[in-house]
């Protein structure tokens, strides 16, 4: 008996440690058999463990389809456990929407399941996955322990895939990255837009091509859907998140183009005069300087190329 107390102490501290690394994932039902795990509208940090992203799953008669696996092995495992609390159905398919680390680094928990992504995404993960993984360790710390890169083994082909009564339309778009997979569940009218659409959260641009992104948003507007699940931010009916993303990208591009044309140095632009609808997007103050770094060099090169000059003396 006198030896029990230290053991209990140890046990409870282990539980505390485990609880410390609990993403507390709460699947929220948004449509028939359709669940979203809502990430925080924050940056990666040591507290949120990278849970800043939305993942989702659809429970069908033929098994469960998972859309994105989250930022870490631990997240992937906890996602899997959360699914098991909702349904005993097996997981039959995983889709990765694009190559960014918060969307695919949980894939280890689904390794025996077919994992599919667009070819550009598979190549991106193959080339940049390790770099993303290293960077995530730096950003969120021990939440990442044991995480390694799993390259999606299959190519997601655009077209309709049926899963036990759900007709899933796979659409290959681009602009947020070089390959952005969008899934439209034609049965429920839920559009999984990946990071082509942000809602209430500043869009990120590390691999963005703004013109292509705008064209993709136009295509999303033309789809027949009821509810849009963005990569970040609350699911929302109608085109709200599409319009908000397009509006932000428009502002970003015109603001930076004008600045380049007027001769601003990059670091002079760190604190922009942005309209309140832009400033009020979550993490704008952190995200905007990143976009400045991604997008300004090309815009500035174009502005400098118009200068009147001659090489040599």
């Amino acid at each position: 008996m006198r030896y029990l107390f230290p053991w209990l102490l140890l046990l409870s501290s282990l539980q505390l440690f485990a609880a410390d690394k609990d993403y507390a994932l709460q699947p929220r039902q948004v449509a028939e058999g359709t669940y979203v795990l809502l990430g925080l509208k924050e940056h990666f940090d040591f507290h949120n463990g990278g849970n800043i992203v939305n993942t989702a799953f659809i429970v069908t008669r033929a098994g469960v389809v998972v859309i994105d696996t989250g930022p870490s092995r631990r997240y992937g495992e906890q996602l899997r456990a959360a699914i098991a609390r909702i349904t005993p159905q097996p997981i039959v398919q995983v889709y990765i929407t694009h190559m960014h680390p918060d969307h695919f680094l949980g894939s280890q928990a689904f390794e025996e399941v077919p994992i599919a992504a667009l070819d550009g995404t598979r190549e991106g993960i193959r080339n940049l996955g390790e770099m993303f993984n290293d960077n995530m360790y730096r950003l969120v710390g021990s939440w990442m322990s044991g995480t390694r890169v799993v390259v999606p083994g299959r190519t997601a082909e655009p077209g309709v895939q049926a899963f036990g009564g759900h007709r899933l339309r796979l659409i290959a778009l681009q602009g947020h990255t070089g390959a952005d997979l969008v899934l439209l569940d034609e049965t429920t009218g839920v559009l999984f837009a990946g990071d082509l659409a942000f809602h209430g959260r500043t869009p990120t641009t590390p691999h963005a091509e703004l013109d292509a992104w705008q064209r993709s948003l136009d295509q999303l507007r033309g789809l027949d859907f009821q509810l849009l699940v963005p990569g970040h931010g609350e699911p929302v009916a109608g085109a709200v998140a599409i319009d908000q993303t397009a509006d932000y990208l428009n502002w970003l591009e015109s603001h930076l183009t004008e600045a380049a044309e007027s001769g601003a140095a990059m670091a002079e632009l760190l604190h922009p005069q942005a309209p309140s609808r832009v400033r009020e997007l979550a993490v704008f103050a952190g995200e905007y300087p990143r976009s400045l770094s991604h997008l300004y060099p090309a815009l500035e090169a174009a502005a400098l190329a118009r200068g009147r000059m001659e090489q040599g003396e």
């Binding site: 670091a267 760190l270 300087p289 090169a301 400098l304």
Partner: protein, 260 residues
């Protein structure tokens, strides 16, 4: 009595004003400061001075391209302006002799890890006024090879200049990009190879401002300088292998669809 207290209040006010701007204690509390003070500033008199603005992002999104805007013009005349990143393997980034230009400059630099980034401005009285900011970085900026030297055409474009001159209210702004790999020599098998000097001269070939660049300046340096009002300038420089840089820049833009 009244007069004494008034004087006292004035004195306090004056001291408070100066204390607010200048201090002898490193506001960034850097372990490398003393070393930098001895090595780069020869232990000369220094004050930490808020009037030397260093604008950088809190975190370097791209550690090969950290944007920096340094402005010491609140000090009045500045003889030399030096930029350094304390925890870089090569700390010294750039030195400017403003001469007739404003003591401010925009440039992008490489950082190896989270580091204090400083600007030191030497005023006529022989005192260095030091400003700075802390930057977080993922690292690798100095020990990663330049992207340019990995591509095939850099050698053909070496030293090529893109530049533009803007007329602003009471000064002219020059922005210039020079094609150069700016290799640090810290990558095995790639020797240090960087643009070393750059001078801006007016139409009479008189220097307007003079820069010395070092390895940590980012690849294909983009420099932003504020000059006295001028319509036409020349850029003259060379790298550490003796390759010249030379260009003439005239205010304005080339005609749309035509020009050169």
């Amino acid at each position: 009595m009244k007069r004494a207290s008034l004087c006292c209040a004035c004195l306090l006010l004056w001291m408070a004003n100066n204390w607010a701007a200048e201090t002898l204690v490193d506001p960034l509390d850097s372990v490398m400061w003393n070393e930098m003070h001895q090595r780069l500033l020869d232990g000369a008199p220094v004050v930490f001075d808020e009037r030397v603005h260093v604008q950088v992002p809190h975190a370097a999104e791209d550690s090969m391209n950290l944007p920096l805007w340094v402005d010491a013009s609140a000090l009045g005349r500045v003889r030399r302006l030096m930029l350094f990143a304390e925890l870089n393997p090569i700390p010294k980034v750039l030195e400017m002799e403003p001469l007739r230009a404003a003591p401010r400059i925009g440039v992008r630099i490489k950082v190896q890890q989270a580091t204090p980034v400083r600007a030191a401005a030497l005023t006529e009285d022989g005192v260095w006024h030091v400003g700075g900011a802390l930057v977080d970085a993922a690292g690798g900026g100095c020990t990663a090879p330049s992207l340019g030297s990995g591509s095939a055409d850099w050698a053909e474009r070496l030293g090529e200049v893109n530049a533009r001159l803007w007329r602003r209210q009471d000064y002219s702004r020059l922005r210039a990009r020079v094609i150069h790999p700016m290799d640090t020599g810290l990558v095995a098998g790639i020797p240090a190879f960087y643009l070393e000097t750059l001078e801006v001269r007016d139409a009479a070939d008189t220097p307007i401002t003079r820069l010395a660049l070092y390895e940590p300046v980012a690849e294909n340096p983009v420099l932003t300088l504020d000059l006295p009002v001028v319509n036409r300038i020349s850029l003259q420089g060379r790298d550490n292998n003796g390759n010249p840089v030379a260009a003439l820049v005239t205010q304005g833009v080339i005609a749309e669809g035509g020009g050169q």
